[in-house]
């Protein structure tokens, strides 16, 4: 636990252009991503951003489709009680629900998974469950979740439906991934904008903005949360940084770089 006031953060940043962990405003903490770590899942990934760790696992089912001729895609993220003293089990609170929906949005808007190819009949097909668990938490679960989720989807294999059941030892040929996405989360503390906030920075922020971009330079998801406001210029600056981060991803990653897009 590290705690300091907003005044402390601002005073330190304004005089040194450094955050309390020694980072500059747009500097990421160390990022490590690995995939293929859970054999029982049909795809898995794990990502660490600083001291925040998120694991993602894919499970495939077969059945009725929600939407005609499109496979189902269900994304869920769990703020596991193991990750932080303030996370409790039980029905998800608004923070948990918002997080799940924010993470879902990027994958869905970017059409990362080719869902049309997962319908075998107009009303029947595959369901891709992408479930994430925060295992250790020090702020910015969103970016870690996107990294872990992307790794899990890149690792994904779809078991063949035999007509009766899913044969989880035999898989469909080819890749079902048609886009790669990357998320950048910013915190705004007074007029200072920082990338990849720690937990102590997040609680001082009046606004948090997550920007998800794909490999074509599209913005595929934005979420602003918090009771503060952001200016047009600030938003423009954040988008620029988010796009730059997306193309810098190879430099940012250590560990299993197969997970990059």
């Amino acid at each position: 636990m590290i705690e300091y006031s907003r005044e402390m953060f601002l005073e330190y940043y304004r005089s040194r252009k450094l955050r309390l962990d020694g980072r500059r405003a747009y500097e990421y903490r160390e990022i490590v991503v690995r995939k293929g770590i859970i054999a029982t899942a049909e795809g898995s990934g794990i990502a660490r951003v600083g001291d925040t760790v998120v694991i993602a696992g894919v499970k495939i089912e077969y059945g009725d489709l929600f939407e005609e001729a499109k496979g189902n895609f269900v994304v869920n993220i769990d703020l596991s009680p193991i990750a932080h003293q303030t996370f409790v089990s039980g029905p998800p609170d608004e923070r948990s629900i918002e997080l799940s929906r924010v993470v879902d949005r990027g994958f869905r808007s970017a059409e990362v998974v080719a869902l049309e190819r997962l319908a075998t009949e107009p009303k029947r097909g595959y369901t891709v469950y992408l479930d994430m668990y925060v295992l250790d938490y020090d702020g910015n679960a969103v970016d870690a979740a996107y990294l872990a989720g992307m790794a899990a989807l890149l690792d994904m294999k779809i078991p063949k439906y035999t007509g009766e059941t899913l044969d989880r030892s035999s898989y469909l040929e080819g890749s079902f991934i048609q886009n790669h996405i990357f998320s950048s989360t910013f915190a705004k503390i007074d007029d200072v904008i920082i990338l990849d906030p720690t937990h102590s920075e997040m609680i001082l922020a009046q606004s948090l903005v997550s920007i998800v971009v794909d490999s074509h330079g599209n913005i595929v998801g934005i979420q602003k949360s918090g009771e503060g406001s952001i200016t047009r210029q600030e938003l423009g600056e954040m988008i620029k940084i988010a796009l730059k981060n997306r193309s810098d991803i190879n430099k940012l990653l250590i560990g299993d770089t197969d997970a990059k897009g």
Partner: protein, 173 residues
Amino acid sequence: MRVVLPGDREGIYYMYLEGIDVPMQQAYIPRPKDTVIGKVIAEKKNVAYIVDISSFYAMTVLIKGLDTRLKQEDIIIGNVGDNLENLENIRVLKGGVLIELPPSKIPRVIGTRGEMLKHISNITGSKLEIGKNGLVWMNGGKLHTTIKILETIVRRAHIRGLTDYISKEFGER
């Protein structure tokens, strides 16, 4: 380097490294006269303040005898009273950064006769207050370096040559 586990011998309830008298990890249990740091979390109107010291019970600061009022979220340093309930001789720590370290590493942060503490202040210019309960408060100087040094001490408390390592990594001022 041998590891001693709870139950290896009578009276052993924690994990030790053979040759080092203090356990490698030990949750804090308040003792009289301990200096601890805590945060005010509540007030019993005109009677006392309740202070969270990150242990299995909160301490009490009696309002009678205080020359200043405290408010919620105030960080204070004080001594555990003989009754193990009250915090005495309290001072308010304004501003600064509060960090929580494993209590078992605190002796290493202080060092023999306070040498490590002096070493840290010399390097970074920060002023530090140390609680036996693992809470450390710091203000002034290169705080981000002070935090990094403390984290290094926690990671290397059991390794020889820590003082020299810190000099090498973080340089003398």
